[in-house]
């Protein structure tokens, strides 16, 4: 099949005539949309304290990890180590923080994914 044949074939498409109620249907949808209340914005003011509460401990963990892994000496580890009475609490809290981190990451990912689709 040469270029002209293909051009001819693809250029000659069937023309679709809009159905009789098409304009009315579009205008009804437009009127409905115009009357609909504006979409509810994301409640940033309410969400920010919670997000900050989640981010600050995470930042502390990241900072601590970086400090521990970057300093080969014991000094930094000692500086960041907690009193022995707080060790079990810290152990539990670290799991909570990891869970929070996972939640935040999955929320951000799904949010981004949904906004890309919409």
């Amino acid at each position: 099949m040469n270029h002209d044949d293909l051009d001819h074939l693809l250029s000659h498409e069937t023309e679709i005539v809009p159905s009789s109620g098409s304009t009315a249907s579009v205008m009804n949808a437009v009127r409905e949309q115009a009357q609909a209340p504006p979409p509810i914005p994301f409640p940033w003011k309410r969400a920010l304290p919670g997000m900050a509460a989640a981010v600050l401990p995470l930042a502390w963990i990241v900072f601590a990890c970086v400090a521990v892994f970057s300093s080969k000496g014991v000094g930094a580890t000692e500086a960041l180590s907690l009193p022995s009475t707080l060790q079990p609490l810290w152990h539990a809290a670290s799991w909570v923080l990891i869970a929070l981190l996972t939640t935040v990451v999955s929320l951000l990912f799904s949010w981004r994914f949904v906004s890309r689709i919409a």
């Binding site: 099949m1 498409e13 098409s22 437009v30 949309q33």
Partner: protein, 187 residues
């Protein structure tokens, strides 16, 4: 289709006259439905897609920058929407291998058969990857206007030409393999 009419209607809608949008719908529903039909090959779905495009346009009228023609802006918006929708819910696309073989070359209804084959061949771009299908659809919809197709897809003209060329090559190669009608024409 008048650019001045479009501009006047947009101004009236932005000033609060909702009914002025009907003028825009009347002028552009045919082209938008036809463009959607080329994407989805389903009349009902094409009308729904065009309706969605008009709704998006209505909501985004204030974002139309007047340096571009209203039609260019509207088609870009519709094209982006159609591409996105087709990627979310793909059409039941035709495999190029499904294109019918010539049943009997000596039949007297060869004209009918060729017409049927031509109809099927027009659907052949549906089997291409979106990257090549979309430039082809837009290029032929805009009657071989590379600039208009590139603007609608938001691609540089060079990129569109390259994809067009590659898409046509793929199509030609496939069609030559599967369609005896094509081979006969080539001979």
């Amino acid at each position: 289709m008048s650019a001045a009419e479009d501009q006047a209607d947009v101004d009236r809608v932005l000033a609060g006259n909702l009914e002025a949008f009907e003028g825009i719908v009347r002028r552009w529903q045919g082209p938008l439905i036809n463009l959607a039909y080329r994407f989805c090959r389903d009349r009902g779905r094409a009308e729904e897609m065009a309706q969605e495009a008009f709704l998006r346009a209505f909501n985004a009228l204030g974002q139309w920058r007047r340096e571009a023609m209203f039609s260019t802006w509207l088609f870009s918006l519709a094209t982006r929407l159609y591409c996105k929708q087709l990627r979310r819910i793909p059409i039941h696309s035709l495999s190029l291998d499904d294109i019918p073989e010539s049943r009997n070359p000596e039949r007297t209804d060869a004209g009918l058969e060729e017409e049927e084959t031509a109809r099927t061949l027009r659907r052949a771009p549906d089997a291409l990857p979106p990257k090549y299908r979309e430039p082809l659809l837009l290029y032929y919809f805009h009657e071989l206007d590379v600039t208009a197709a590139a603007k609608n897809l938001g691609l540089p003209e060079g990129t569109l030409k390259a994809r067009l060329s590659r898409g046509l090559d793929l199509l030609r190669a496939k069609l030559a393999q599967v369609s005896p009608v094509c081979q006969r024409k080539e001979a």
